[in-house]
């Protein structure tokens, strides 16, 4: 699934997309960054309500190339800047984490298995 389709499914606003397109096969939802760091992530996007710089930094460390911020959280300019430096796509969505997860699952994204 490409980033435009992801954004469309979650009724999101795509704030930044890297020049090099990624295709996503799985998703992980968490507000606890230590949980994100426990799993091996490739072609995976992160759904979170944690709207801080650490969410972007955790994505970078975990090789996650897209973060969806749920529940209408507003992404700061500092976060966008860090995302740009690390080629991480950023989407804002007014939907809840549960709703976003369900919609993406219905459309074929898989969970990360521990």
């Amino acid at each position: 699934m490409d980033i435009d389709r992801v954004s469309e499914i979650v009724n999101g606003e795509l704030l930044f997309a890297p020049d090099i397109p990624n295709r996503y096969t799985s998703a992980f939802a968490s507000d606890l960054m230590s949980d994100v760091l426990r799993y091996y992530m490739e072609n995976t996007l992160l759904i979170t309500g944690l709207c801080t710089l650490q969410a972007i930094r955790t994505a970078e460390i975990s090789n996650i190339s897209c973060v969806i911020f749920a529940r209408g959280k507003r992404v700061s300019n500092e976060m966008i800047q860090l995302a740009k430096e690390n080629n991480i796509a950023v989407i804002e969505s007014g939907l809840t984490v549960f709703d976003i997860s369900g919609k993406l699952y219905q459309n074929g994204l898989k969970p990360i298995l521990g």
Partner: protein
């Protein structure tokens, strides 16, 4: 090749930048993505621990042909009971740390899981020293 980074305790806006720099440096050595991720995750958790608990710290990374040695040393309150600190779920983190998505008592177990060897020593009231080793074959 040896690199050192200063870590400022309590500064959450720069937390993770040292680990990020190390990850970018290691990428140039063309090591396996799995190993790269292991090192990056362990360093990031260690860096967050310094930011969350200590006054200041130094992260030293020594990249050798067959191994990577890491030392993260801080000045701070130290750890009273290392055995307890290693238990998953045990945490003394503040509310501010939890709001950053950390402080659930998973950092040290995550570091152990993401290292080949780990040695943690601490003197309460003085500071903490974390040593990590990775045995690798670098491709260049």
């Amino acid at each position: 090749m040896k690199i050192e980074y200063y870590i400022e305790g309590g500064n959450f806006s720069t937390a993770g930048s040292a680990s990020s720099e190390v990850k970018k440096t290691l990428k140039q050595f063309n090591i396996s993505p799995l190993l790269l991720r292991k090192v990056a995750v362990a360093l990031y958790e260690a860096e967050m621990n310094v930011v969350a608990h200590a006054y200041r710290g130094i992260m030293s990374v020594d990249i050798q042909p067959f191994c990577i040695w890491v030392v993260v040393e801080d000045e701070g309150p130290g750890i009273e009971d290392i055995g307890k600190a290693m238990e998953e779920g045990f945490s003394t983190a503040t509310e501010e740390v939890r709001q950053m998505g950390f402080g659930a008592g998973m950092g040290l177990p995550n570091i152990k899981k993401n290292s080949d060897e780990m040695t943690l020593t601490s003197t309460p009231g003085v500071g903490t020293r974390l040593e990590l080793s990775y045995f690798v074959k670098l491709n260049n």
